[in-house]
Structures are given as C-alpha cells and as structure tokens.
Amino acid sequence: MTLLKAYLRGLREGWFVLGYTLCVCLSVFILAPFLMIALRSVGKGWFGKLWLPPQLTWDWYRWAIEVGNIPEVMKNTLIIGVIAVAVSTVIGIFAGWAFGRRQLPGKELLMAIVLLPRMIPPITYALGVAKIFYTLELVDTHLGVALAHVSVCAPFAILVLSATFEGLDERVLEAASVCGANTVKRFFYVVLPLIMPGILASMLFSFTHSYNEFTLTLLTYGPNTVTLPVRTYLAVGDGYWEITSAMAVIMVVPSLAILAMIQRRAKPEKLVGGFKGV
C-alpha cells in the first residue's frame, strides 16, 4: 500500500517535472527569436559562429530612426491605426447591437459573411482590395490603408461587441425606462457605461490588428503610407540585419505595452458589467 502510494507520488512528481520542463522549453521556443532580434539590434561585430556579440552599441537604433525614417513611419502607423479603430468600433457597436439584441433573419449567414475576411488567406482578400482601391484611388492614402485594415478589425469588433450586447441585462434597461430615462439618457447613463469594457477591449484588439497588419498594407501602401511592419520588411531587402532588428524591436514595444494593458483592464470575461464597478 505504502509502496503504491510512494509510486503514485513519484509518478505525480515525475509528471510535474516533465510538465514544467515542457513549459520552459515552450517559453524558450517562443522567446528565442525575440531574444535573437534584441541581441542583434545592440550587437556589433557579431559575425561567424560566435554565440554572443563581442561588443554592444546603440548605433543601429540611431541608424534605424534616421535612415529608416521611423518617426514618419510611426506617425503613418498610428494615423492608420486610429482611423481603423474608429471605423471598426462604430461598425462594431451598430452591428454588435443588431447581432446581440435583435432576432435577425439569417443571423448565422450574416455572421459568416462578416467573418469571411478573417477566414480566407489574407493575400487573396488583399488582391481584391488592392484592385478596388486602385480604381477608387484609395491606394497610398491613410484612409485607404485604414479601410483595408477595417476588413480584419471590424469582424473582431463585431464579435466582441455582440457578446457584450448579448450580456446586457434586459431587465436593467427596463428598470432605467421605468425610472424615467428616455432612450438617449438610457444609452448614456446605463448602456454606455455597461458596454464600456467591451468597447475598450474591441478598440485595443482592433488597434493591435491594424498595427501588426502586413499583407493588406503591402498591397495598398505607397511612399506616403509606409507602416512599421512594411518598413521593417523593406529593410530586410536592404540587407542590413542589425538595422532591421532595431526596427523590429521598436515595433514590438507598443505591442507589449498594449498586451500589458489588455491583461490588466479588459479581461474577456468582463466584457460586460460596468466600468467603474469592475
């Protein structure tokens, strides 16, 4: 009996060690490329089979910012991101309301159409978008690139916000009406504060999607609308790995900041339930 217990305990500990090792391996696997890029962006004279760079320098960052015109590129990225977020959120609120609160005929089909741009290969979709945008002369405009991004941001906003609206308690809205609130007051004092966490989550995720978007940008950008991912990709072509790495690190920083924000504020399980009260 004791032997069996000891055996079981051993087995359990063995599983624990194995699981822990796997977790560490996975982390290394995920983080290794980041580490590589980070090292390369500050390494000097790192050639051949050396495991670590012999010298450290910030020069590549200076080069990246000056030669790569990063401030301009960052500005483009942010403008496009803000437009994409604004448009997606507005679409998301209206569509989410419709999906979450109304009995729509053919709801599943509509949802499938909304999700389509996310499901098919981006390059396929991007080719179509590019053709249309050339015709409409939207290529190489901030609005154009942003609208291309909306095609992947809006489905996400709609998904998140329909879940948010579905979670709204009908009785609470009824209570507001009985208390004397008309539709407008009810929206601003009750509905809006209650869906705020959902709106924030949808905005954050939309922004990250736009910020990271590559394929759609590549087919709709021009000299005036270079974004960070595209600029980094172009730098690869120039062959300066150190500068490219520096750009990649610069690009990652805002993403990490947003990730930290998401982790703290907008937990998916708290898409509904009030902002102040959360």
């Binding site: 209570a175 008309n182 504060p193």
Partner: protein
C-alpha cells in the same frame, strides 16, 4: 378625483395565437395593495408589462390615475418598480442607483442627496451608500431596489415577484418590510406573484388570474374562505374535493350523496335534486374524533392511512368510505396511529355546481 388608481379596461394581448390577457378588466383603488396571483403563464406578467409599457396591448385601455396611458412611453408613466432579479445598475453605487430617478428628473444635487438619504433610511441601508450592488446580499439588493422605486414618490409602486430570488427566511422578513413601507407611505401598489402565502400576508385585495382572465377578486379572507372555483381553492391553501349529486334540498341546506356518504351542506342557488356538485373541505376544517363517537350529521367513519409529523400539526391521510382519500391537518396533541379507525366530523362543507367547471 376618482377612487381608481390603476385601471385595466378589457386589455387583450396575444402572442402568436396564444392569448396572454383575455379582455382583462381590473381596478386597483387609490392606496390599495393589490396582488396579481396565479400560476406561471396565467397572464399576470403580461398584465404588468402592459402597465409598464414594455409591451403594448392588442386591445383595451390602461388608465393610471384617470389618465389613459395606453400609448404613453414607459419613461413617461411615472412608475416605481421593484424587479425579481433586482435589476440594479451594476456600475453605480447604492447612492447613485437610488438617486438615478432623481438625476433623470434633473433634481438639484442637494435635494437629491436628502431624498436619497431618506429613501435609504426607509429601507434601513443608510450605511451602504458607497457600496456597489455586487457587494450586497440578495435581501440588501432588493431593499436598494425598493428605495430606488420609491425615491421620487411615484403614484404607483409595482412589484414583480420581488421576493422569489431570496431564501425562505429572508422572504418572510422582507414580506413584512414591504407591507410596512407601503402602508406607511400610503402608496398604491400592484404586487405580482405566484406565491399564495405572500399574497395572503401582504394584500388588501387579491386578484387571482387563470388563463389570461381574472378568476376571482377579493380580500385574502374572501379568497381563502369562499373560493369561487376549484382552481382558486386548489391554488390557495390545501383542499379536499368530493364529487357528488344533490339528493334533497331543504331550505338553506341540501343533502349531497358522494361516495356513499350523505353530506349536509348549505344549499346553492337554483339547485335541484340530481344536480352534480363538487364539495370542498379544507384539511384543517375536519375534526378527527375517536371511533366511539356516536353517529351524527356529517360524521363519517374513516381509517388512518398515513401520518406525518409537522411540528405544530399532524398531517393525516385517511380513507373514507368507498376509497376516498382525504387529507386532514389536526392538532398534534391528540395523535392517531396508522391503521386506527376514527370518525371525522365536517363542521363546514362548501360546494359548487360541478358543471360550472
């Protein structure tokens, strides 16, 4: 000023062929606490929602204090309402929840604070103004709901099964609390519930609903003592029913033969020998007597089948005559065991014409 505060006039509402309210007419007097009582699906909730304006009746009018509000939007009806699931605003503190109707009415801040304080005192929650609803117990949340409904002194207070989400002990406490507050304010209240005990304890009058219609309207005593149908008798309290035929009618009494027994009961209007009637006796209106009791009017031999001890009373299942099972609740001091022969005395039997059903 008319005496009626809330009036339903022939209100009809159908849902996809199902009639939820069938020409419902009901008047609730000023200052009265009226309960709408009935099983689920009887149309009481539909009636309430017609009154709040959440749904529009297909036909009929609804009057509030003499004004036709059938076409008036919910937020203009000046109602106070307490909800079954509390329906507090989760993102607001207790203070803001209670102050919400005042804020909507653009009341000045100082006036608002005083009124909120008053309302919180009324429900004994002064210390909880800064709490959020989720930090309160169910009973406390419902008291916030009551304060929010009363804070702007609405003409009528509506209560939609306000106690059904609370546990049994709390429910009983809250029952008296609601009654007390409503009486103190002298407000007209409509209380919707499926709980007969709540309805009896709280109401000035009870309206029993069945299949979208008003089945009986009366004080709790009237409803309990003289139910007008088997439905009402079954719904309010426990009952024994016996089907029988009228054997003879002698002035104010008639004799009914049911399951081989001759039962004397007050006669019904326009009843003649041969008519089918339904007799009805409450379990606590039957006396159990020793087997040696001499034969008399409405005294019948019976055998105890099963006994259940309920603390203050004993619950007996008895076999009477030709296989009629009766339920009797009697004082627990004199006990009869299972299998014992006894005599039952029915001092009080009521009846209806059976074909009315």
């Amino acid at each position: 000023m008319s005496d009626a505060m809330i009036e339903f006039r022939e209100v009809t509402k159908r849902y996809a062929g199902l009639v939820a309210n069938d020409r419902l007419s009901l008047t609730i007097r000023r200052g009265e606490l009226m309960t709408l009582l009935g099983p689920s699906g009887c149309g009481k909730t539909t009636a309430l929602r017609c009154l709040t304006g959440t749904i529009r009746p297909d036909a009929g009018r609804i009057l509030l204090d003499g004004r036709d509000v059938t076409e008036v939007a919910t937020h203009q009806r000046e109602l106070g309402m307490v909800f079954q699931n509390f329906a507090l605003f989760p993102h607001m503190t207790v203070r803001d929840n209670v102050g919400f109707p005042l804020m909507i009415r653009n009341l000045r801040k100082e006036a608002r604070a005083t009124r909120v304080q008053e309302a919180l005192r009324l429900v004994r929650l002064e210390g909880y103004a800064e709490h959020y609803p989720r930090q309160l117990s169910g009973g406390q949340q419902q008291r916030v709901g009551l304060a929010r409904a009363l804070v702007y002194r609405p003409k009528v207070l509506l209560l939609d099964e306000p106690l059904s989400n609370l546990d049994a002990k709390l429910r009983e406490e809250m029952r008296f609390e609601i009654k007390e507050v409503v009486t103190r304010l002298g407000i007209t209240a409509m209380y919707v519930t499926h709980d007969q005990a709540e309805a009896l304890a709280l109401s000035d009058r009870v309206a029993i609903m069945n299949r979208g219609r008003l089945q009986q309207l009366g004080t709790p005593e009237e409803i309990y003592e003289t139910p007008n149908s088997r439905f009402v008798a079954e719904f309010i309290g426990l009952s024994n029913f016996l089907e029988g035929r009228v054997a003879s009618v002698r002035g104010a009494t008639m004799t009914v033969t049911a399951s081989g027994l001759s039962i004397h009961t007050p006669s019904l209007p326009e009843v003649a020998p041969g008519h089918k009637v339904l007799l009805f006796v409450r379990p606590n209106e039957i006396e159990i007597l020793p087997a040696a009791t001499p034969a008399d009017t409405n005294v019948f031999p019976a055998r105890v089948e099963k006994t259940t001890y309920l603390g203050d009373t004993m619950d007996y299942r008895l076999m009477l005559g030709e296989g009629v099972e009766l339920r009797v609740q009697a004082d627990a001091r004199h006990r009869y065991g299972a299998g014992e022969s006894v005599r039952l005395r029915w001092p009080r039997v009521r009846s209806w014409r059976a074909n009315e059903e």
